[in-house]
Structures are given as C-alpha cells and as structure tokens.
C-alpha cells in the first residue's frame, strides 16, 4: 500500500473521529471539551486533505479533477459536518441570550470558528496549488451556477422561515426564542453554502462524465 494511500486512509480515520467527537461523542475527552477537540481535528483534516490533493502528481486521480472540483467536494463534506453539528446542538439555543448561556455560546463559537477556518484554509491552499492555472472561464461558469443555486436555496429557506413565523399560531411558536432563531439563520447560511458546493461539484462531475 503506497504512502499517499495510507495518508488518505489516515485522514479519513481522523475525519471520522472528529465527526464523532462533534456530533455524538462524550462531553469531555482526556479533560478537553469534545467539541473543541473535534473542531481542531476537523480543521487538521481539512488542511491535510487540501495539502495532499495539491501535491498529487499528474497522471494520478488528480488528472481528471480540477482544483475547483476538489475544493467543491471537500467543501461539501466540511459544510455538511458543520450543518450536522449545528442541527444536533440546536436545542441548547432554546434558552436565554448567549452571554447567559455558556453551552450555546460554546457551540456558536465552534460553528463560527469552523466556518472561518475552512474559508481561510481553502484560500491559503488554493494559492499554493502547484499545477499552473487554478481557474479559468469554465471554472467561473460552474461557480456562477453554484452561486446562483446557493442564492436560490437561501431565498427558499428564508421565505420558509418567514411563512412559518407569520402564519403559525403564537402558542406553537414558543420554541422560537431569539437565540434559536439566530441559530436557524446561521444554519440557513451553512446549508446554502453546502448547496453551492454540491451544485459546483455536480457541474464538474457532469463535464467529465
């Protein structure tokens, strides 16, 4: 088994561990808060994956996949994990404002840090891409379609929220406290990002099918 293959298997194992820590793991691991540990591991996996992909020699699996397609599929996986984390921990936002709710404060901080970390990692490693041209007119067309789809997804979700809040009887909206509504708005952004990555990934996939 080649070293790169072992490396990718290692990354997959660490990614699985990070996802478990974030979504279903114990509260603390070796005295460290499990969510923080999962977040750090996931960031390490994201960086390791992008770094490994940028080093794949021509002739390998990287031959048929554009930098943009790699970024799209990795971004989709990353944002889906963040979305799952946000959904699983949504109940903690049903309470007082964040400065009086340490659990919600911690979850919210982890979500924002994961999103910022992903954006930074993608940009830094995109700039380090080894093989000449990173983006051309075809990539921009595919990304424009993805951005359009993400905008549409965001509009649909926000209209859904508006209809839900406008037409539901007041007694059925007891769950809709401000911190949870804020969390749902952030979740809408995460889902629209995931949708954008999905549409971009499918665009590339269709081009080389």
């Amino acid at each position: 088994m080649s070293l790169p293959r072992l490396g990718f298997i290692g990354l997959a194992v660490v990614a699985a561990l990070a996802t478990w820590l974030l979504l279903a793991g114990p509260a603390r691991v070796f005295g460290i808060e499990a969510g923080n540990a999962g977040m750090v591991l996931l960031m390490a996996v994201g960086w390791g994956s992008l770094h490994a992909i940028s080093r794949i020699p021509d002739g390998g699996i990287g031959e048929s996949m554009s930098p943009g397609e790699w970024r799209a599929w990795l971004g989709l996986a990353f944002t889906l994990v963040i979305a799952a984390y946000a959904i699983v921990h949504a109940p903690v936002f049903h309470g007082p404002p964040l400065w009086h709710n340490p659990d919600a404060n911690r979850i919210g901080r982890n979500i924002v840090m994961l999103l910022v970390a992903w954006m930074l990692l993608a940009r830094v490693l995109d700039a380090r891409w080894r093989r000449g041209v990173r983006q051309d007119e075809r990539d921009r067309e595919i990304e424009a379609r993805g951005a359009g789809a993400a905008r549409l997804a965001l509009v649909v979700i926000l209209v859904g929220y508006a209809l839900l809040l406008s037409f539901s009887p007041t007694e059925r909206l007891e769950w809709a406290v401000p911190p949870l509504l804020g969390h749902l708005l952030v979740l809408a952004l995460i889902v629209s990002c995931a949708f954008e990555y999905l549409v971009v990934g499918l665009g590339y996939w269709r081009d080389r099918r």
């Binding site: 048929s64 554009s66 080389r208």
Partner: protein, 73 residues
C-alpha cells in the same frame, strides 16, 4: 453547458500534428486548466470566443480550422 455542444473541434488532431503537443502544454499556452482542455476535446464544453482564438493561436491555425458549427443552421 451540458454534455455535448453544437460546436465540434479538431483540437486533439491538431495537437498531434503540432509535434504531439501535450494537453498541459496547450492549457498553459491558453491560460486554462488541463481539465478544460480535456472537456473541450471531449466536446463537453464550448469555449468563449476569446479562448477559441487563444487555442487557434497556440495551434498556429485559423479559428475555423479548429472549431466547426455542428448544430442546426
């Protein structure tokens, strides 16, 4: 842009006639990714007018020798 465009091309043949120019060399000469050259040769992507001219220039032929309209006239 979907699978198959009404614009066909002779990029692959012309590359080989130009001393077996590689896809990467053509991509570098035109400022695109190698995957875009692959998509062009497979007929899955119709280039912009600018890219079409760049490709013809890199292959040292006129644009109509590279691209042909295969759709309904």
């Amino acid at each position: 842009m979907g699978n198959g465009t009404p614009v066909t091309n002779a990029i692959r043949r012309l590359r080989f006639e130009r001393g077996e120019m590689t896809q990467q060399a053509l991509a570098d000469a035109c400022g695109v990714t190698r995957q875009t050259v692959i998509a062009l040769e497979a007929g899955r992507y119709a280039p912009s007018l600018e890219l079409a001219f760049r490709i013809a220039h890199a292959l040292e032929v006129r644009i109509e020798e590279v691209f042909q309209w295969a759709g309904e006239s």
